[in-house]
């Protein structure tokens, strides 16, 4: 009788670096680029940076939120178009705005388990080259025609067609179960938590200023590769100020209390990102120095449909679980990367962690998590300035935080990303 094999010990997972193309506001310079085009350019940029041409990696995992049905194998098709060894396997994931970070979690876990030695995690989204589907009525009619066995039956099936069926179905940024857009959801939560317009505009201005400063000091020289003539994020306004932002009219929320504007909400964006993760041994063999270690991750979801919770509040639940598992407090971090879906999302999350009632009743904690040192928050800018191609945001943050930790000579960073469907993905990096 064969003896049962013992499980292998877990391995540390290194973040070796990343690459992204500059993010561009939708219907701009990348309007005609497909998800596959952008992801291919991004992966090839990563391959060039790390000398991986012809290399077979353990896997490439990526995804897109807005995806054409023909792109069912988007990541594998991308790999076949890159300079990686075509023998590199790939698969797609989709967890709304959490896609990019979830992809990193998946690759990291396989590396930790010893199932692969190195892999690329990424994400891409085009809000410009969006999939447009035929209406449900037309689709049913066409399927009936396809099933028909004779000319007569086909003619009969076609009689079911109505003029209204010719209107195409365009993807919308709304939650299917509530019919509310993400911004409208956020406006409800922001109002509930009393998040002020000023605080949101301050956060937005800081995001632009931090991102601009990071570009100026060359921070992105080895994180970004130009694409289609664009070399910086097109949404970036280096001269953004609270005063300028305060002149914008609210776009989400109703009446006097509306605080959310186009300036403190992320715009629809096109872009792609990718990060290279590997075991320590693989990194050493390839003469690569880890920027940071991918320590742990947690995903949470909230019932925003029936429960009394905001759509984008899941990270507020995920973080305390992650902290408890790692024996850390919220203050044990040198850098915080909280994805700026909206300025109000970040502010609500921080406020919730400071709120004794929320922490006791919702999180089941004896004491609130407390406040963070705001000077450690999104130090190189975040989505309000860079833009937010949904699935690409995770990769952007992982690579930037890892490099920031390396530059700081070590430390610990927290990543928090909210996602549609009331979900949130959070992670810890250390260097």
């Amino acid at each position: 009788m064969a003896s049962q094999s013992t499980p292998r010990a877990l391995r540390r997972v290194a973040v070796l670096g990343g690459n992204r193309i500059p993010f561009a506001r939708s219907n701009g310079p990348y309007a005609k680029a497909s998800n596959q085009d952008m992801l291919t350019a991004t992966v090839d940029g990563l391959v060039a940076r790390f000398g991986l041409a012809g290399e077979r990696l353990g896997e490439v995992v990526a995804g897109a939120v807005l995806k054409h049905s023909r792109d069912f194998n988007l990541t594998r098709e991308t790999v076949l178009g890159t300079r990686l060894d075509p023998a590199t396997p790939a698969y797609d994931v989709q967890q709304a705005c959490g896609t990019g970070l979830e992809a990193a979690v998946l690759v990291a876990n396989k590396i930790a388990l010893g199932q692969v030695d190195a892999g690329i995690a990424g994400g891409v989204d085009s809000a410009s080259d969006a999939p447009i589907a035929v209406s449900e009525g037309l689709r049913q009619t066409l399927l009936a025609v396809n099933r028909a066995r004779s000319a007569g039956e086909r003619a009969k099936a076609l009689t079911g067609l109505r003029p209204g069926h010719l209107v195409p179905a365009v993807p919308e940024n709304v939650e299917p179960r509530t019919g509310l857009s993400m911004g409208e959801h956020m406006a409800l939560t922001a109002a509930q938590w009393g998040i002020t317009r000023e605080a949101q505009d301050e956060l937005a201005a800081a995001s632009h200023q931090h991102l601009a400063a990071a570009y100026e000091r060359g921070f992105f020289d080895d994180l970004v590769t130009p694409y289609l003539g664009v070399s910086r994020d097109t949404n970036l306004r280096a001269d953004s100020t609270v005063e300028k932002l305060s002149t914008l009219k609210p776009v989400f929320g109703k009446g006097e209390g509306a605080t959310m504007t186009a300036g403190n909400s992320t715009p629809l964006t096109d872009g792609a990102s990718a990060v290279l993760l590997a075991s320590e041994e693989w990194a050493t063999e390839h003469r690569l120095t880890p920027l940071a270690w991918f320590v742990d991750a947690e995903t949470a979801a909230v019932d925003y449909v029936h429960g009394d919770e905001g759509l984008l509040m899941a990270p507020a639940y995920a973080v305390p679980r992650l902290l408890a598992r790692n024996g850390l407090s919220l203050q044990d971090f040198d850098f915080y990367e909280i994805h700026e879906a909206f300025a109000a999302t970040v502010l609500t999350t921080l406020k919730a962690w400071e709120d004794p009632d929320f922490c006791r009743e919702r999180l089941g904690l004896d004491a609130p998590l407390g406040s963070i040192d705001r000077s450690r928050l999104n130090v190189n800018g975040s989505s309000l300035a860079a833009g937010h191609p949904f699935a690409a945001t995770g990769g952007r943050i992982v690579a930037s935080l890892a490099k920031q930790l390396k530059e700081a000579g070590g430390g610990r960073g927290l990543i928090s990303i909210c996602a549609a469907g009331g979900q949130g993905v959070v992670a810890i990096l250390e260097a």
Partner: protein, 439 residues
């Protein structure tokens, strides 16, 4: 890069009516024979026997007398290094003239002399110096893609002579014509002819496109691991080149203060060393002298000259370029002959020539060589934008009656980088088809 004019003048009709047609140059490809047809080796100098023996080893027939009437030779190597009196120069004519008549298309004339700078006897210096005038004039007479070049040797050492003769005989020197190369007594031993740069780590700045991209390709073809460097804004093209040559892309601005140390750090940590640096990054900002503004002047000086000086400090510092390493700069005909509207560019490129001369002496004890190429009219995106008439003149006004390819520049750089070229330092080799400019 074929324009309408080129299409017309190179058409069969144009050929029939007698429009002169440039010869398709024989350019090096791996595995190609060194030379097409036998090589006449004559002259009675101290290197001739060694060259003949080496050619035989390379599978090239070396003959000491011309074959029968009607048979062609691929090249002629005339060793006049022993000539001490002007009367000895007769040999050049008596041996050379019939051989040049029997030269095939893309043939080669290589003359070996003794470097006059190492001689003291007046008659001897006079004689050896005379070779240069003869070779440069012959270059202008040769047709059919043939070239004439002069190798000036010191003492008895063969390695440098062999490397230079090999370069001039091969397709690597297709667009190098009428040049004089001095070789010193450095030795190099045997090198792999197919992959002379095997195991070497080479950095190329300005590698995203044009000549820089071609340098990266040629160095990689010859076996080097290439670090392709260019400004972050050119990162997409850079990535394509780096991936094509299976090297790595390093996005940095060569004018930044830490460019040199970042290059060294990348090459040593990622590839385990640094053996070859090609300072190719360069810009032009043309304006007549009287209208030249601060920005045009300074940006050209900064990118073409000052950044090279700064990077060399780091590259030649502790833990940087390995002993026996290579630095290759890119000068320009404009730095030799000057060019209207290019006082800034001309100054920077002439400065590069000064840098090569001075630095080569400083690092000679470490076995590091410092050389430059000076490209003439090279067919690139940049020259394609030159106005038609100026472009046609630039293209035709040289002994080969055509523009060079980026590859021609890259091949000369790759030769400087070879271990075999250890005896070549402090040189500027023009890759210009013997252009009339600055001749």
């Amino acid at each position: 890069m074929t324009d309408l004019f080129t299409t017309i003048v190179s058409s069969p009709v144009a050929r029939k009516v007698g429009v002169p047609q440039p010869t398709r140059l024989r350019r090096y490809e791996p595995g190609m024979p060194l030379c097409e047809g036998p090589v006449l080796v004559a002259g009675g100098g101290r290197f001739a026997d060694g060259v003949a023996a080496w050619l035989g080893g390379e599978g090239v027939a070396a003959v000491s007398t011309l074959p029968d009437e009607g048979d062609k030779v691929g090249a002629v190597v005339l060793d006049l290094s022993a000539a001490t009196d002007p009367a000895d120069l007769d040999q050049l004519r008596l041996l050379g003239a019939p051989a040049v008549k029997a030269l095939r298309r893309n043939g080669r004339v290589v003359v070996i002399g003794t470097d006059p700078a190492t001689l003291t006897d007046v008659a001897e210096v006079t004689t050896q110096r005379a070779l240069e005038g003869a070779v440069r004039s012959l270059g202008k007479e040769l047709r059919g893609g043939a070239t004439a070049n002069l190798v000036l040797a010191q003492g008895q050492a063969h390695d440098g002579v062999r490397s230079a003769v090999e370069f001039f005989l091969s397709g690597r020197s297709a667009y190098v014509d009428g040049q004089v190369v001095r070789v010193d007594e450095s030795t190099s031993g045997d090198v792999d002819a197919l992959r002379p740069l095997d195991g070497k780590v080479a950095v190329v700045t300005g590698a995203a496109r044009g000549i820089g991209a071609e340098i990266a390709r040629v160095l990689a073809r010859d076996g080097a691991t290439v670090v392709a460097v260019d400004v972050p804004a050119a990162g997409d093209a850079l990535a394509t080149v780096a991936n094509e040559v299976r090297g790595t892309a390093l996005q940095l601005d060569v004018t930044s203060d830490d460019a040199g140390s970042r290059i060294v750090e990348h090459a040593t940590t990622r590839h385990g060393g640094l053996d070859v640096v090609v300072h190719n990054a360069g810009i032009t900002r043309d304006k007549l002298f009287v209208n030249m503004d601060d920005d045009r002047w300074h940006s050209v000086m900064e990118v073409n000259l000052r950044s090279v000086l700064r990077m060399n400090d780091a590259i030649l510092g502790e833990g940087g370029l390995a002993d026996g390493g290579r630095i290759v700069c890119v000068a320009s005909i404009a730095g030799i002959a000057g060019n209207r509207g290019q006082t800034n560019y001309g100054a920077s490129k002439a400065g590069v020539i000064g840098l090569v001369t001075a630095l080569s002496r400083q690092v000679a004890d470490r076995g590091i060589t410092v050389n430059a190429v000076a490209p003439g009219f090279i067919e690139t995106e940049m020259t394609a934008r030159i106005p038609f008439a100026t472009r046609e003149i630039g293209r035709r006004m040289n002994s080969l009656q055509q523009g060079g390819h980026p590859k021609d520049v890259a091949e000369t750089i790759a030769w400087f980088a070879q271990p075999g070229a250890a005896a070549v330092t402090g040189h500027v080799v023009r890759v210009c088809g013997q252009s009339l400019l600055g001749a």
